[in-house]
Symmetry: C2
Subunit: 232 residues, 2 copies
DNA sequence: GGAAAATTTGCAACACGTTTCAACTCGACG
DNA sequence: CGTCGAGTTGAAACGTGTTGCAAATTTTCC
């Protein structure tokens, strides 16, 4: 009854389920041995099916990304507002279970071996590219702009912020401020309507004020170093 | 004669020299045991003095960053041109010994444990902040802009590109194009002079064309996935 | 000069990702 | 039904970052 391929598929999703469970239960840095046990497979199986621990975490990430992409699509917000909304949704998403997301992202991007997938590559880039394309279609972004490079810039800006959050360098709230600020700056030069331009400029100033206030409140530098100072 | 602190210092720099040597000689993923031997210390000493392998690599990075900062400062280029020049210098710097820099950055940011320092934090952020501040002083950037957030956005944009290059996802040439594109976009909204604005717009279009040509030449997607496709 | 304190050393040990391999399981197929 | 073979299993082993610890070494201080 269960074909060979079905068996593989079942094991694959069992492993992913187990991985999610382990992280969510607090075993954020689970062992491959623990994962194998939790998924009722031998320790060699995840390697057969995914290739590495990192690859397993990428698969978990991809699964979560789908839910995020749906949420962004569902929030029928116009360009350029939708970009900011997308950041908010990501932050909300992360904030709902910070340890979980931090761990998954960390395992995917920091523990990792040599494998790599840009955070928003594949389905992710499609999401951003789609938003930009819509903006051009609807005449909210200058028609000279091409979706791919602008989307890439936005992704890069957000990616850097997310990575800093994952590493514990940033509060979620500051992640949002920084990403919004970067987005506002990036978009300022490419929005088509004068009203959008001035709205962005206003937003930019407000964001800058909030960022400065935040940094001033903690010693004046944007990225305080709390490391062990034993590095010569 | 050799005070306790001097001895420590000597060991510290011996370890850093050994680390640089090993990477440069091609042993890009050297062992802590190999490092200890090359530095003529016991394997425990790097842990006493730095704390972890990652911390050693951070120290190497910091050393290299100083040379880079000097190069940028020496290139007496006006704002906003200097930002682009800074990217060029970084790429030149990396291009001179790609394997070395890739390995050091990789070890610092991807192998790593929990420690973290933003790539441009500390001396790095000072460099970017300084360029932005100069731009404001010289009236090339809108006076409403504050150095810290703009510098942070530029750093984030570059950081994301560098990270992709380190992971082997990007050619050095594309790193430059992408960073330039992001920079042009970020700066477009904040340059004070009309001539700078139109120069940036021109540059932006040229960059976009080159990026699109590049991506078109290889299947149409900006970030092709060459991964093992065994991820379900 | 000698005790005391700080560090380094050598070495064994641990944890964990990953690999290897022979035995085994079980669907596929004639 | 019987054989084949892709894929899984279990267990052992490896490599490497990291730690612990007692002994040795070196600086400091009286």
């Amino acid at each position: 009854m269960a074909s060979r391929e079905e068996g593989k598929q079942r094991r694959r999703s069992e492993i992913l389920r187990a991985a999610r469970d382990l992280v969510r239960r607090g075993d954020t840095a689970f062992t491959m041995r623990a994962l194998a046990e939790a998924a009722n497979v031998s320790v060699a199986t995840p390697y057969n099916l995914f290739g590495s621990k990192q690859a397993v975490m990428f698969a978990v990430l991809e699964h979560d990304l789908a839910a995020y992409a749906r949420a962004v699509d569902d929030s029928a917000v116009p360009v350029p507002e939708v970009f900011f909304r997308a950041v908010d949704l990501a932050a909300e998403h992360y904030g709902r279970d910070p340890d979980y997301h931090r761990s998954v992202l960390f395992a995917a991007y920091n523990d990792g071996g040599r494998e790599y997938r840009s955070l928003f590559a594949g389905p992710g880039h499609a999401l951003w590219r789609g938003m930009v394309a819509r903006g051009i279609d609807e005449g909210r972004l200058a028609p000279i702009v091409h979706p791919d490079p602008l989307a890439a810039s936005l992704e890069q800006q957000l990616f850097a912020c997310v990575l800093e959050w994952v590493r514990g360098e940033l509060e979620l709230e500051e992640l949002v401020l920084r990403a919004h600020y970067g987005f506002a700056l990036l978009l300022l030069g490419v929005v088509a309507r004068a009203e959008d331009h001035s709205a962005l400029a206003t937003r930019l100033e407000a964001l800058q004020a909030r960022l400065l206030a935040r940094w001033a409140a903690r010693s004046g530098t944007p990225t305080p170093r709390e490391d062990a100072a034993r590095t010569g």
